[in-house]
């Protein structure tokens, strides 16, 4: 089969960011053209995906596009895979992207600055998201994955000069970044142990539960879990509500948080056979689902309510995939407990996006997002309330929306899992409770917004009077649009929510559209198309739904759980930060104490311990044969002088005596060189000794007099320094007696004056071998050492500049005084 070209998908991925950047080229005052240019991006993306699909159909999992070579040696090239899941997500992302571009325009009003930077950032984010869902190479997915982290950082930290906003953006970036690192590790481990670097190759892979595979899977799931806000990493998602609403809508309905779900969906075909799959995914998923729903019920801020329902729904989606790892018998067939997963995802997008859109719109109009204050908002703006309630009905999973069968399918999956383990009955209870909360939220929205009895009400605030006309709660512009752009505040929501009812009322149409995208439809009852409400099989799942609706009505109307509670998990990130900064700082400063003495101890301990280790591994080095030191008395005498003068140095106090002692040591070393037949050395050392002593005397006179403080403990100082001395002395003894013939010295001797055959008759032309070595054989060393000398002189002059420079510095100031 011929591989399709990558062109259209490449275009689909990069069109949004290009359009965004292009929009920056338009003059700031021209807002509408800017919007139109920015609009081109997602529109082109959407159409490109469609064109690609029209040309090649939905790809089988192993049919990627042609490879564009990038960094082949790191298994990172550009190729795309538009299979059902990918294509669906691509269309969803670009489709909602179009609506967000339209929505952002009235949301930001005429604020030029904000729109100037909003569209490029949004384009960047859309591109990243398109990249995640279409990439074939795992590392390419990761690349775009991290790009979503970066771009969402900019979007969440939109109000960048406000502390709260910055803090939440950092929290989101760090949390998802943490997951990104884990995912990187997982991909690398999987790739390097299995040799598979592309999603399309995974289709041919035979899963096996080796340690590497399981570890890799866990780490990749960790990436997905942080991105998709699974408990306990969910805290960043409600925190991200500090962003402007268009951002929240996009991030939390269709894109950023769905990336984790998408990744699990990508991994599903390959990894679901691992025994760890259902447990790893179900446990956090179920907790997230219930926790999110209950917390959502206890909120007042509309955006926070929807944020927590998002958390809850993400948990549900994870659970759906987790259940997919289970196999059960049905009618003699092995079936997987997952059905219509794409529909589940689409369902969430189609009600969550409108909810956010309207929440933002209400805030824009009413100036508040506090639910009790919006009591009776119906009287202010009818279209908005209608759209919100339609979407809220879907949130509750009411019959007639696609949400209902989606929830039913989920209940079916749980129901079937009863056969495997009783624990799934607990999951069923959790699912029902989640549904109860969702229904209750809808009931509360309904009663409050319409101003009915049992609604939540803040008596001090009448939205009809105070809220109308001046929005400064969330929207940022005093000027309100009218006409087309005013409608754009709610029309995108209406467009999306229409799909809910399309699916719910015309399941055949929905099935016709989504069936090709569903890669894994297993259960024969739902294989062909989604059922109508009345076609549901009577049984436990339907009873569960009824319980949920009944319970939800009761809870929603009751006065219970009407407060606004905080989330204890909001402290996780501050705690982690504190741990790193204070705990980590303390750990670091234990080592980095600033005390030079401790540094020396650490360094020489390294040497001593290393030496001890070498003795352990190489006991032969303790074995040295050397002759008696008594045989050559002049040497012995000089040695004693050296040792004694060295040992005296720390003991004497007087300056003059110290200099004498140093001199005695130096001159004995000179004698030692003479014994060792090194006249050049002896002469040089003698001269340097003289000059150094002059220097030393000069310097000692300039130093401040020493303190009279007691010196630090002597015993350990002596112990450490003795150990170092013995180490080095021993090594000297060992090497000098190693018996290895030197290879270089004899050559120098042979070629010092006249050459030999080996050098083609070329010699150094000198009788003094040492000097010939210095200026010829190893003349390069000499060139280096005179450079060191010169630099030292420069250094001294730089430290102590002459009078002329100092005068200049007084005139013009120096580094310390300059800013």
């Amino acid at each position: 089969m011929e591989q399709p070209s990558s062109f259209w998908l490449l275009l689909a991925v990069f069109a949004p960011v290009l359009a965004g950047l292009l929009s920056m080229r338009i003059r700031p005052s021209l807002v509408t053209p800017r919007v139109l240019v920015a609009l081109v991006g997602p529109v082109v993306s959407f159409l490109s995906v469609l064109i690609h699909l029209a040309g090649h159909g939905v790809a089988k999992t192993d049919a990627a596009t042609k490879v564009i070579t990038w960094i082949p040696s790191l298994n990172l090239n550009v190729a795309f895979l538009a299979d059902g899941l990918g294509a669906f997500f691509a269309l969803l992302v670009s489709g909602i992207g179009i609506l967000i571009v339209l929505y952002a325009r009235p949301y930001f009003g005429m604020s030029k600055d904000e729109q100037y930077r909003f569209y490029p950032t949004l384009g960047f984010f859309t591109t990243a998201m398109m990249g995640i869902v279409l990439s074939d190479y795992m590392l390419l997915t990761l690349l775009f994955w991290e790009m979503t982290s970066i771009s969402s950082f900019f979007l969440i930290g939109w109000y960048r000069y406000e502390k709260e906003s910055v803090h939440k953006a950092m929290q989101a970036f760090f949390t998802t970044g943490l997951g990104g690192m884990a995912m990187l590790g997982g991909i690398l481990m999987f790739g390097s142990s299995e040799g598979i670097w592309r999603w399309s190759e995974v289709a041919h892979w035979h899963p096996h539960s080796s340690g590497y595979v399981i570890a890799a899977f866990c780490m990749m799931f960790a990436g997905a879990a942080t991105k998709s806000a699974q408990y306990p990493w969910h805290y960043w998602l409600p925190g991200a509500m500090v962003a402007p609403t268009p951002v929240s809508t996009f991030l939390h309905s269709a894109t950023m948080v769905k990336a984790g779900v998408f990744l699990v969906g990508r991994m599903y075909p390959a990894f679901h056979e691992l025994t760890i799959w259902p447990w790893l995914i179900l446990i956090p998923g179920a907790i997230t689902m219930l926790f999110g729903a209950v917390t959502a019920l206890n909120q007042h801020d509309l955006k926070r309510i929807f944020a927590y329902t998002t958390v809850s729904q993400l948990g549900l989606l994870m659970c759906a995939y987790g259940l997919g790892g289970l196999e059960f018998e049905h009618g003699g067939q092995h079936l997987m407990a997952i059905d219509w997963d794409v529909t589940q995802i689409a369902n969430h997008a189609f009600y969550k996006a409108p909810l956010f859109i309207i929440a933002g719109a209400i805030a824009h109009v009413a100036g508040t997002r506090d639910l009790p204050k919006l009591y009776g908002f119906w009287r202010v703006n009818k279209p908005m309330v209608i759209v919100m309630l339609l979407a809220g009905y879907a949130l509750a999973g009411g019959p007639g929306t696609i949400s209902f069968p989606a929830k039913e399918l989920f209940f079916y999956a749980i129901y079937h899992a009863f056969e495997i383990h009783w624990i799934f009955q607990v999951l069923a209870v959790m699912a029902v409770l989640t549904a109860v909360c969702n229904v209750a939220i809808f009931v509360r929205l309904f009663t409050t917004l319409l101003g009915l009895p049992f609604g939540q009400r803040d008596l001090s605030f009448d939205v009809a009077v105070q809220g109308q006309g001046h929005g400064h709660g969330d929207g940022h512009d005093e000027h309100h649009d009218v006409g087309f752009w005013a409608a754009m505040l709610w029309v995108p929501g209406a467009v999306l929510v229409a799909w809910q009812y399309l699916g719910g009322l015309l399941p055949n149409l929905w099935s016709w559209i989504f069936r090709p995208l569903e890669a894994n439809v297993n259960y024969e009852g739902f294989a062909e198309r989604l059922p109508f409400v009345w076609e549901m099989h009577w049984g436990i799942p339907l009873i569960m739904s009824l319980c949920a609706i009944g319970g939800g009505l009761v809870v929603g109307l009751s006065p219970l759980m009407r407060g606004a509670v905080g989330d204890v998990h909001d402290r996780i990130y501050p705690f982690l930060y504190w741990l790193c900064v204070h705990g980590g700082g303390r750990a670091f400063r234990t080592f980095q104490s600033g005390h030079f003495r401790w540094y020396v101890v650490a360094v020489v301990s390294f040497l001593i311990l290393g030496f001890a280790g070498s003795v352990y591994f190489e006991p032969a080095m303790l074995d040295v044969h050397t002759a008696s030191p008594l045989e050559f008395w002049p040497g012995l005498l000089l040695g004693i002088v050296i040792c004694v003068s060295a040992l005296m140095l720390p003991m004497v106090e007087k300056r003059v005596i110290r200099v004498l002692v140093l001199g005695a040591c130096g001159f004995s070393v000179v004698g030692m060189y003479l014994i060792y037949q090194a006249p050049d050395l002896a002469l040089t050392q003698l001269m340097f000794e003289l000059i150094s002593v002059i220097l030393f005397v000069l310097v000692l006179r300039m130093l401040p007099s020493p303190d009279v403080k007691k010196s630090p403990g002597k015993v350990w100082r002596i112990a450490i320094s003795a150990a170092v001395g013995i180490t080095m002395g021993w090594m000297t003894l060992l090497a000098a007696n190693s018996g290895t013939p030197p290879a270089l010295g004899p050559f120098f001797e042979a070629n010092s004056y006249e050459g030999t055959e080996a050098t083609g008759g070329r010699g150094g032309g000198g009788h003094n071998i040492v000097n010939v070595v210095l200026v010829d054989f190893r003349g390069f060393d000499t060139l280096g050492e005179i450079t060191v000398l010169s630099i030292a002189a420069l250094g001294v002059w730089a430290l102590l500049p002459g009078r002329a420079v100092r005068r200049l510095e007084e005139k013009f100031g120096s580094e310390g005084g300059a800013a």
């Binding site: 960094i71 790191l74 590392l139 790009m147 970066i150 960048r160 910055v166 803090h167 953006a169 950092m170 990104g180 990187l184 590790g185 690398l188 481990m189 390097s192 980590g584 700082g585 670091f588 400063r589 030079f596 401790w598 540094y599 020396v600 360094v603 301990s605 390294f606 040497l607 030496f611 280790g613 591994f617 180490t727 090594m731 000297t732 190693s738 290895t740 013939p741 030197p742 290879a743 270089l744 120098f748 042979a750 030999t756 080996a758 010829d776 054989f777 190893r778 390069f780 060393d781 280096g784 450079t787 060191v788 630099i791 030292a792 420069l794 250094g795 120096s814 580094e815 310390g816 300059a818």
Partner: protein, 543 residues
């Protein structure tokens, strides 16, 4: 012919340095020739690298024209070539940056010749093939760095500099002694010759390495480790680097530690990581990598002064490089090399950004900064790109360095890989800290009075130029990682299987058993071999 010209990497900075001193009072002329020298080095090294990539050539020049183990060899291969190219680039960026960000009076204190002579030392360290010459080049580099570290002689510089100098002095002494011991134990100082001897002696049936070799390896580890700032030898770095003028700090943190890491990467796979203590050395590497990476990043996160954060971060990233060396597979070494060069560029770029940030905010304390984004968008973009490269987010350069090391790590030291990933996350946190406190957050400090979009001060122009140069290089290393990796893989292969290196330096085919070219020289050596005589004597004396 090209072979001999590789010495220009060393000679050009030296001659430029000499000329700069002689042109002492003409700052413009000094700048001009200085820039020219770095540009030349950069261009020439890239030209040679293309050659290396295409043909796998190893350029060798024998100083004074004496054959290899006797004279001093200068070797330009993938490993040293990439480092020379990167360091020349970094030097260029920092040098240009200094024009506007270093106080003119400080510049008068021999800054221009010193930076050239520093590069003399750095390039020589990368290129030399002789152990003792490596010591000399270290000393050149260190001497210049001592002088530059204290340039300006501010109080905070002076109260810290002694740590740097004295610890390096200890290391240098150990190095001299160790070089002497190597000569005593192995009879030669040329790295290729040493590698040959080690390979012969450790081969099955070989006589084994002389006793004490492991201890010498540990001494070398101390020396190079101290220069490279690995655990537990890093102490001098966080206390000193933040004190010196910012352009110099940028250059130091980019280059100087890499010289130590380079020496580890060069000598250990070739020579010192063999013999009886092999397993011990590898364990030291692994443990050291772990602590270096993790403690380093903790130190960075916990600070709130930009200079300190960046300086301490150097340690953390050295940990990644040591991690690569600890694995000692060809691929991991290639990753280590790539990480090194990208880190040089990125870290220097960050420091240079910090210099400009300080100019705007009047301080490098994050708690007193804020809203710099309002002041300058370009700076923010440059900083962000560099910071994310440091963190290693794809497709920026840090990602590609880390990728290979962590991938190799899974199968050898999986725990190090985990630690590496955690370190990556904390690096992200520390960079976000700088970004949020410095560029975002409510504006504070001196820049508040400057309206948005006001023109950049003209005097900072060269500063921006330097940063931009380095950031563009970093971007190239990210998006164009493939050609660089080609060379890096070659180099990694060559380090673990040094036949090509040995053959090129010693100028004979290592696979041909009798060393024909050396036969005559060795014959001479045997005739006058004193040790043979001594050994005979001793045997007779002690029956």
């Amino acid at each position: 012919m090209t072979n001999h010209w590789i010495i220009l990497f060393i000679i050009v900075p030296q001659v430029t340095g000499i000329l700069s001193v002689l042109l002492m009072n003409k700052i413009r002329a000094q700048r001009f020739i200085g820039t020219l020298s770095f540009v030349f080095n950069t261009v020439f090294s890239i030209y040679l690298l293309l050659e290396v990539r295409a043909h796998g050539t190893i350029f060798v020049s024998q100083m004074s024209d004496w054959p290899a183990p006797f004279g001093i060899s200068i070797v330009f291969d993938g490993l040293s070539g990439l480092l020379v190219a990167a360091s020349s680039m970094v030097a260029l960026g920092c040098y240009i940056h200094s024009f506007s960000l270093m106080h003119p009076m400080t510049q008068r204190r021999y800054f221009h010749p010193l930076i050239q002579l520093l590069m003399f030392g750095v390039n020589l360290s990368f290129l030399t093939g002789d152990l003792f010459n490596l010591f000399v080049s270290f000393e050149i580099m260190l001497m210049a760095s001592y002088a530059m570290l204290t340039l300006g002689a501010e109080r905070r510089q002076l109260t810290q500099a002694y740590k740097y100098i004295l610890l390096n002095l200890i290391a240098s002494t150990v190095f001299v002694i160790a070089a002497g011991l190597v000569y005593g134990l192995m009879g030669t100082l040329n790295m290729a010759d040493l590698a040959r001897i080690v390979a012969e002696k450790t081969a099955p049936g070989g006589e084994g390495l002389p006793a004490g070799f492991t201890a010498v390896s540990v001494m070398m580890l101390l020396v190079f480790g101290l220069k490279g700032a690995i655990f537990p030898l890093w102490f001098w770095l966080p206390d000193t680097y933040y004190t010196c003028p910012i352009s110099i700090a940028a250059m130091f943190s980019g280059m100087l530690t890499k010289v130590g890491v380079y020496a580890l990467a060069r000598t250990f796979p070739l020579i010192f990581a063999h013999g009886a203590g092999h397993s011990m050395i590898m364990v030291i590497f692994a443990i050291s990598a772990a602590f270096t990476m993790f403690l380093g990043v903790l130190g960075a996160v916990s600070n709130h002064e930009v200079r300190r954060i960046l300086a301490i971060h150097v340690i953390s990233q050295v940990g990644y490089m040591v991690f690569g060396i600890a694995l000692m597979t060809p691929i991991a070494l290639a990753g280590c090399l790539f990480y090194m060069i990208q880190h040089m560029v990125v870290k220097s770029a960050l420091f240079l950004c910090c210099g400009i940030m300080e100019r705007y905010a009047g301080t490098d304390d994050l708690y007193k900064m804020g809203g710099l984004l309002k002041r300058d968008r370009l700076l923010a973009v440059l900083f962000f790109v560099a910071a994310m490269s440091l963190v290693g987010l794809p497709p920026l350069s840090g990602f590609f360095g880390k990728l290979v090391i962590i991938q190799e790590g899974w199968h050898i030291h999986w725990w190090l890989s985990v630690l590496g990933l955690a370190t990556g996350a904390l690096t992200l946190l520390s960079m976000l800290k700088i970004w949020s406190y410095g560029f975002w957050n409510p504006p504070k400090g001196q820049h508040v009075v400057v309206p948005t979009g006001a023109p950049r001060p003209r005097m900072l122009k060269s500063g921006y130029f330097g940063v931009t140069l380095l950031v563009l290089t970093a971007l190239f290393l990210g998006f164009g990682a493939q050609p660089v990796y080609d060379i890096a893989f070659q180099a990694g292969e060559q380090l673990t299987n040094p036949r090509a290196y040995i053959s090129a330096v010693l100028q004979y085919d290592i696979d041909a058993p009798p060393h024909e070219q050396l036969a005559a020289a060795e014959h001479d050596a045997e005739v006058v071999d004193p040790m043979a005589v001594v050994a005979d004597e001793r045997e007779e004396a002690t029956p």
